[in-house]
């Protein structure tokens, strides 16, 4: 093991020009990495706190099930959606969750293509988070279609009953293709990356059921050099495919708005602005999850402060992009000289919904500026608070975009004020139950750290 700035301490945020900063701390060797990463999974009994969290998450999930049932039995009227705001919270929640689902693939694919080695410790958990966020995201448009039992009409499947096909020129259909492709590719990427680590589980587990299930899931992986060769090529290909895909998904989500003609939606800045916002919120969610997770599962030596600090830097950078986009929107509203466009933005900042607008500005633009200070981006409890604010702000961003424009459309006689119902609020809160349940089960039963990848970037004596 190479000497480090402070090998036993866990602060590797200082740069030393004379050597590469280590990404695995505590003097761990390969065996040590395996044991650290498997520690939580191998524990005979999960700690109480995990059970308590799981119980809370599953309670919320149960309520979510009840709410969805209530919705299906009664119809979409149980939501606050009504003329003119036909897109209420369900679409706000959809965009919020699908945005969060962007960090995982970004970390796995884009940082992989840029050879950012620090991604290896966090990519697995981030990918899992991506998939679970996409599950939450997919649920909302799924139940928003009204007649859920004919959901397959969304897809180009011939039905004599309907006797028509989807309209391929509609952004809503593009969304169906983008989100389902993203979910599928993320799942393949996640699972493929996990196979060598599931093989580690297969070789370490002592239970018969575990041997069977992990044996099945690891597909008989042996770590053969020929397999690794094709595996690495395939991984690079998937990363190269996932990179434009991840950018396209939120671009297409933004088309849902930008391709319509409503003032405040019909802007060309939406695609880049939505993608930056998605990365912003996604990284904030990764930090929010990983800080408690690394403490709970004893992963401080693998998910180091430097990892967290890097993510905080990305949060700050994307936060600045989002802030710039807010400014540009106002500039264009003024510069275009279009009265309705100017009004739409004036109304956002000073109209009925100004409270939501200023929550968004403070959470997304002002608060992340704290990350200019090193103390703020290297103090774990503090960064979690900032990141929670970021996600509150990003939820309000989608709320502001969706609701303010709809409530002030072209016909002043239909202007109204949107009020959510208890079902709206319940579904947003309980969607976190679905997300947390999946994430907690993942942490307990699947490899949270990409062990094979971490071992691959560890410095070896005489080679680095």
């Amino acid at each position: 093991m190479a000497t480090t700035v402070d090998p036993q301490g866990l602060d590797n945020t200082y740069d030393d020009a004379s050597q590469r900063t280590p990404l695995v701390l505590g003097g761990l060797d390969y065996q040590g990495v395996t044991e650290t990463a498997c520690g939580f999974w191998e524990a005979e009994k999960a700690p109480k706190i995990w059970w308590i969290l799981l119980l809370m998450a599953m309670s919320l999930l149960g309520i979510l099930g009840g709410l969805v049932n209530h919705l299906l039995m009664s119809g979409v009227g149980v939501w606050g959606n009504n003329n003119p705001a036909y897109w209420g919270w369900p679409i706000v929640n959809f965009v919020f969750w699908v945005g969060i689902g962007h960090a995982g693939t970004l970390i796995s694919a884009i940082l992989f293509l840029f050879r950012q080695n620090w991604r290896t410790s966090i990519n697995r958990a981030a990918e899992a988070m991506t998939i679970f966020a996409v599950v939450c995201a997919g649920m909302f448009p799924g139940i928003h279609i009204g007649r859920v039992w004919v959901f397959y009409w969304l897809f180009p499947i011939p039905t004599e009953h309907l006797a028509m096909w989807p309209n391929f020129r509609s952004p809503l259909l593009w969304d169906v293709f983008a989100v389902s492709t993203y979910a599928t590719v993320s799942l393949l990427f996640w699972y493929m990356g996990m196979v060598p680590d599931i093989a580690t589980f297969r070789d370490r587990t002592k239970s018969r059921i575990g041997k069977f299930i992990y044996g099945l899931l690891s597909l008989g992986w042996t770590g053969s050099a020929r397999n690794w060769h094709r595996y690495e090529i395939a991984y690079t290909l998937l990363a190269a495919l996932a990179t434009p895909l991840v950018l396209s998904v939120h671009t297409i989500v933004s088309f849902d708005f930008a391709v319509s003609q409503l003032p405040g939606w019909h802007t060309t800045i939406f695609p880049p602005y939505f993608v930056a916002g998605a990365i912003f919120s996604g990284f904030a969610m990764v930090v929010t999850l990983l800080v408690p997770a690394r403490a709970l599962f004893g992963l401080e030596k693998l998910i180091t402060l430097r990892h967290l600090e890097n993510m905080n830097k990305i949060i700050m950078a994307t936060g600045l992009m989002v802030g710039t986009a807010y400014g540009i929107e106002f500039f264009i509203a003024w510069y275009s000289g279009v009265q309705v466009e100017s009004y739409a933005f004036w109304n956002r900042a000073f109209g009925n919904y100004s409270w939501a607008y200023w929550i968004m500005i403070s959470c997304n633009v002002v608060i992340p500026q704290l990350f200019w200070f090193k103390w703020c981006r290297t103090t774990t409890w503090f960064m979690v608070i900032v990141c929670i604010f970021v996600n509150i702000g990003m939820w309000f961003e989608r709320f502001v975009i969706t609701i303010t424009s709809l409530c002030r459309d072209f016909l002043p006689s239909s202007w109204a004020y949107f009020t959510p119902t208890w079902v709206d609020i319940g579904m947003l809160v309980c969607s976190f139950g679905l997300f947390s349940t999946l994430f907690l089960l993942f942490c307990r039963f699947l490899p949270v750290i990409a062990m094979a990848e971490v071992k691959g970037i560890m410095p070896r004596d005489g080679h680095h």
Binding site: Y30, R169, V185, G220, G223, L245, S248
Partner: protein, 486 residues
């Protein structure tokens, strides 16, 4: 377990497995082995070791080319799917026709609008090909690998590195190879043996697989046997959400009252579920103040209209509902006859009805739909309904007033039936004939009038008495240029 199997007499030696403790010694050993002439060997490691591919002579995989081919195929499939489903250009290829959406006059297929879906299909296809292609090229999943029986090998997914020289290699020699491996720095060496006793599949598996496949095929077979069949029963409607809606339908009483519930929750005090038009209201498109156009009555005789039942819009403002309803109870023909004055009918087509080829063609088509059933295609009063009804009446099974032939002397001609009166006949019916004003719009009624006059003037009759061929032949013979004499 692993050691027991290794010493089994029924097993075959398939290679020697040497363990190394770090990736550098593994790569070095691989290089030695290649230089010593070994070809069939593989290295095993917990993570991809760089520099090992040339060391054991791994050629670059063709996976990227396979993915490229799949991606190019996906371009065709993606664009083809959209052309097929959103236009009718490729209908000849598939059983379900395309559905061209007409939206603001935009083209049904345009590359920019179809890029997003094409892109997603390319990415999806390429990703699935990459994923499946990688596993297939790697010959995985393979669960029955003799390596997994060696307990030492379990550390390959943790921290140890292995080199396996296969017995199939020409250079392989049990003793010599072991010596070589030791020389190259192996920490431990073990034989890899394949157990020959349990190599075959249990006999019941193929049978069970075939049976299972047959059982799984039954439901799709049942579905496809019904493909394209007709069925007298209505389609199975799993969720009848559109059939039972919580709303008040028109022409019904308020639902709660109709259900006989005690709590009467009426929509309106008069028990209706909808409101009637305000007095004097004229429904969109039904203003009929032009008496010549709408009633076939000369402007000078317009006062006669008010006594006719059809004058609803004029009546409603002047009279109460009771009068209107009681007059609607009477036969419209009787009401008409009581006030008929032959001079009141227009004898020329009203302004706005231009008699030309197009109008006659339209009239012919409408006549064949609405009139020919009784009057026959040539207007001889020998339509199928008439024939059948007369046959029934002859047996005393029905009473029937025969439909008139339009060529009869007392029907033909301006003296008996000026165009206005023909129009009125269609509108309000005459004798036993019912009114057609609800079925046929004003313009089409005039088109039929023009066609009836053309039939009468040309005097075309059906050759023979075969009613089945009657209409088509004679209708074709009608000269569409024939102008009614006015």
């Amino acid at each position: 377990m692993a050691e027991n199997n290794n010493n089994n007499a029924d097993s075959k030696l398939i290679g020697l497995l040497a363990q190394f403790d770090d990736p550098e010694s593994l790569v070095a050993a691989c290089n030695h082995a290649r230089e010593a002439g070994y070809k069939k060997m593989d290295a095993y490691s917990p993570f991809p070791v760089h520099g090992i591919d040339p060391a054991i002579g791994i050629k670059r995989t063709i996976l990227p080319l396979i993915v490229l081919a799949a991606a190019l195929g996906a371009v065709v499939v993606g664009l083809g799917l959209q052309i097929y489903t959103n236009s009718s250009a490729l209908d000849f290829l598939a059983p379900f026709p395309g559905y061209p959406f007409q939206i603001s006059g935009k083209p049904v297929f345009s590359i920019p609008a179809n890029i997003p879906v094409t892109f997603e299909i390319i990415v999806l296809t390429s990703a699935i090909t990459t994923f499946l292609g990688m596993w297939i090229l790697n010959r995985l999943p393979m669960f029955a690998n003799p390596l997994h029986r060696i307990s030492r090998f379990k550390r390959v997914t943790n921290d140890k590195f292995f080199l396996c020289l296969e017995a199939k290699d020409e250079k392989f020699n049990r003793a010599a190879s072991e010596t070589q491996l030791n020389k190259w720095g192996a920490v431990a060496i073990e034989e890899v043996r394949q157990d020959l006793t349990d190599n075959d599949l249990p006999k019941w598996i193929p049978t069970a697989a075939i049976l299972g496949a047959i059982v799984l095929l039954l439901p799709p077979a049942a579905i496809f046997s019904q493909w394209g069949q007709t069925n007298r029963h209505p389609r199975l409607h799993v969720v009848p959400d559109m059939d039972w809606q919580h709303k008040f339908k028109t022409q019904t009483m308020a639902p709660n009252l109709a259900n006989g519930l005690d709590e009467v929750d009426l929509m309106y005090a008069d028990l209706r579920s909808a409101r009637r038009p305000v007095d004097g209201a004229v429904a969109f498109g039904s203003l009929d103040i032009d008496s010549e156009m709408n009633f076939g009555i000369k402007q000078d005789f317009a006062h006669a209209i008010s006594s006719r039942k059809s004058m609803r819009t004029l009546l409603v403002s002047a009279t109460d509902d009771k009068t209107a309803e009681s007059s609607s109870g009477d036969s419209p023909a009787l009401a008409a006859d009581a006030t008929e004055n032959i001079d009141q009918w227009v004898t020329t087509f009203p302004e706005g009805v231009e008699v030309n080829e197009k109008l006659l063609a339209r009239g012919q088509q409408r006549f064949n739909i609405y009139c020919a059933a009784c009057h026959g295609y040539a207007g001889q009063g020998n339509g199928l309904v008439n024939q059948k009804a007369l046959a029934l009446a002859a047996n005393g099974d029905a009473t029937w007033t025969a439909a008139r032939s339009l060529h009869d002397a007392d029907v033909k001609g301006d003296a008996k039936n000026p165009v206005g009166r023909i129009y009125d006949t269609i509108t309000n019916g005459r004798g036993n004939m019912g009114p057609y004003r609800a079925q046929i719009p004003v313009e089409d009624r005039w088109a039929i009038v023009a066609y009836v006059r053309a039939l009468q003037e040309t005097g075309l009759k059906t050759p023979g008495v075969d009613a089945a061929t009657d209409g088509e032949e004679s209708a074709e013979k009608v000269d569409p240029d024939a102008k009614p004499k006015e």
